[in-house]
């Protein structure tokens, strides 16, 4: 039964990919859309090959990756720290909840000008954008995780005269691993998007910048090539994060 299903699933996926690809090629050659907006997939593939063999592309990729990683790390550390504080003090959590939830749902891109005023128009504002984006999913997940800790454990620890720091380290933190990782998965995703958007708005390096430059000069196939590679990298990063997270959860 399982073998049959997995073959069937594969068949559906392959059929879907073929159908989409065919539809794309048809539209590309039909002249329906303004010339060049839907280039033939072969042109895009050729452009991808060109990009991947160009050293400059890897430089831009490195810039974006750096901005994402540093921003994500900063946002995660702050998110966990604030989440722990809010989790320990229920009153603070209830007071802060509406503001955190409100800001979490807000499009972070609007804070970009403020970040540019504070951190300049270079990598600083992109990193800050990544950090700001990643902060919210992480803090929300951490607070959720803190709430899930069994209060009995805490009372028992206190009855053994454990210090607050020890309680945090030995009781709260271990049970935070799973929720924090869930938050971090989402955080990485939004950090990537945040950094790319910031690069589109104002930058002189990075994948977002490269894509927009191609669009400005209407090199559409090249733009699609860069976008596809960026998509693939983002999906791979999220998948990696997921795998690493699952390993960590299982290891405990």
């Amino acid at each position: 039964m399982t073998r049959h299903s997995s073959h069937a699933v594969l068949a559906v996926r392959v059929a879907t990919v073929l159908a989409i690809w065919t539809a794309w090629e048809v539209v590309a050659r039909s002249g329906l859309v303004y010339e060049g907006v839907v280039p033939s997939s072969f042109l895009v593939l050729a452009a991808m090959a060109r990009e991947l063999s160009d050293a400059a592309f890897y430089h831009d990729m490195a810039v974006t990756a750096q901005e994402v990683l540093v921003g994500f790390a900063a946002g995660t550390v702050c998110g966990v720290a604030v989440g722990v504080v809010l989790g320990v003090r229920r009153f603070a959590d209830e007071a802060a909840a509406p503001y955190i939830q409100g800001l979490a749902a807000t499009p972070k891109i609007i804070f970009l000008p403020i970040l540019m005023l504070l951190f300049g128009v270079g990598s600083g504002s992109k990193i800050a954008m990544g950090g700001l984006s990643a902060f919210f999913p992480v803090v929300v997940a951490t607070v959720d995780g803190m709430k899930g800790v069994n209060p009995v454990l805490v009372r028992v620890a206190r009855s053994f005269n454990a210090s607050s720091w020890q309680i945090i380290r030995k009781i709260y933190l271990p049970s935070l691993v799973e929720p924090a990782i869930i938050g971090m998965r989402l955080g990485l995703g939004v950090a990537i998007i945040g950094v790319l958007l910031a690069e589109i708005k104002f930058s002189r390096a990075g994948l977002g910048h490269v894509a927009i430059q191609y669009y400005n000069f209407f090199h559409v196939a090249d733009m699609y090539a860069v976008l596809l590679i960026t998509f693939a990298l983002a999906v791979a990063a999220n998948a990696l994060m997921g795998m690493a997270g699952n390993r960590l959860i299982r290891r405990r």
């Binding site: 540093v70 790390a73 669009y215």
Partner: protein, 326 residues
């Protein structure tokens, strides 16, 4: 997990922190310029290539933007030291609002190079046909913004001003139907006009008063003025040397042609017909009243600068450009 992350974060951040290049005896100026490929914005690039700035002990680190607010933001946030070819509209309104921006010199008086065009098959024949259409310029506060606003006002129509970005992006938008009227500056795009793919409907000096208005300036920020004033003076000296060379040597024509990918004959035409040396003088500040009037009309200024404010605004430029171009 946290340790791993922390280590990874530090490892990733290190290259960013240790950005210092090899130590050099030259003073570095970070320059944000607008519209790579234009005649007047290429002076910094070609002057650097020729070594004029090095003679003054300066190394330029040039970055190209779409103009106007983009270059200014780079300047005001302290990310860059000098912005070249920035619209006076933006500079004066930012200054009036308390931004730490300082006028360094003029860059372009009159708008002889700017032109507005439509697709060859467009029904628009002149400014009168602009009712309900979209009219492009680069970025808010730029000289193309200033002139575009004046042209729309002259047309008496309700045409909508759209910030379209640099000439390549603008061309894309016009050809794909997103924008009715695009902008550019000679010689960029003139080959398309000659080929009949696009049609000019207005030029910069068609705007009333524009011919005698200083529309673009070079600017710096308050910190640089305070700490590195002599570097700025040397920058302007080297810039003037570049101007002298640009308007007297055939070598410049070739250099610019290669840089902007333009044929030498077109470049010669640009130098003699479109943008003359007097237009790019560093110490001309004309039509300030007109500029302020337009700024108030487009709601960038609450009211024109007072005489005292004007004097304070112009003072750094007066001092730093003393004796240039004589």
């Amino acid at each position: 997990m946290m340790k791993l992350l922390t280590r990874a974060a530090i490892a990733a951040a290190l290259p960013l922190l240790i950005e210092a290049g090899p130590a050099s005896a030259l003073d570095t100026l970070k320059v944000a310029s607008a519209q790579k490929g234009f005649w007047d914005t290429s002076f910094v690039e070609l002057g650097q290539e020729k070594g004029f700035f090095k003679d003054q002990g300066i190394q330029l680190d040039i970055v190209w933007t779409d103009g106007g607010a983009d270059a200014q933001q780079a300047l005001i946030t302290g990310s860059f030291d000098v912005s070249v070819a920035t619209g006076i509209l933006g500079v004066i309104s930012a200054y009036a609002k308390g931004a730490p921006i300082v006028l360094l010199s003029s860059e372009m008086t009159g708008a002889p190079d700017l032109y507005w065009y439509v697709r060859a098959d467009s029904p628009i024949k002149s400014l009168k046909d602009l009712q309900g259409k979209t009219f492009g310029y680069s970025r808010p506060g730029s000289s193309s913004n200033l002139i575009a606003a004046a042209l729309v006002k002259k047309s008496g129509t309700d045409a909508k001003l759209i910030s379209a970005g640099g000439p390549p992006a603008t061309l894309t938008q016009v050809m794909s139907g997103q924008l009715d009227v695009g902008w550019s500056a000679a010689p960029v795009g003139l080959d398309l006009v000659k080929e009949g793919k696009i049609r000019t409907i207005a030029t910069g000096n068609d705007a009333p008063g524009a011919a005698n208005q200083t529309v673009r300036v070079n600017a710096t920020n308050a910190t640089v003025l305070k700490d590195r004033r002599d570097v700025l003076r040397r920058f302007l000296l080297a810039y003037q040397k570049t101007l002298d060379w640009a308007y007297s040597s055939p070598e410049m024509l070739k250099a610019y042609g290669t840089f902007a990918k333009v044929k030498p004959e077109v470049v010669e035409e640009t130098r003699t017909h479109y943008i003359r040396k007097a237009d790019v003088a560093l110490n001309r500040m004309e039509g300030l009243d007109e500029t302020m009037k337009e700024a108030v009309e487009t709601k960038r200024l609450q009211q024109p600068l007072t005489a005292a404010q004007q004097k304070a605004f112009l003072q750094p430029m007066m001092e730093l450009t003393k004796g240039l171009g004589k």
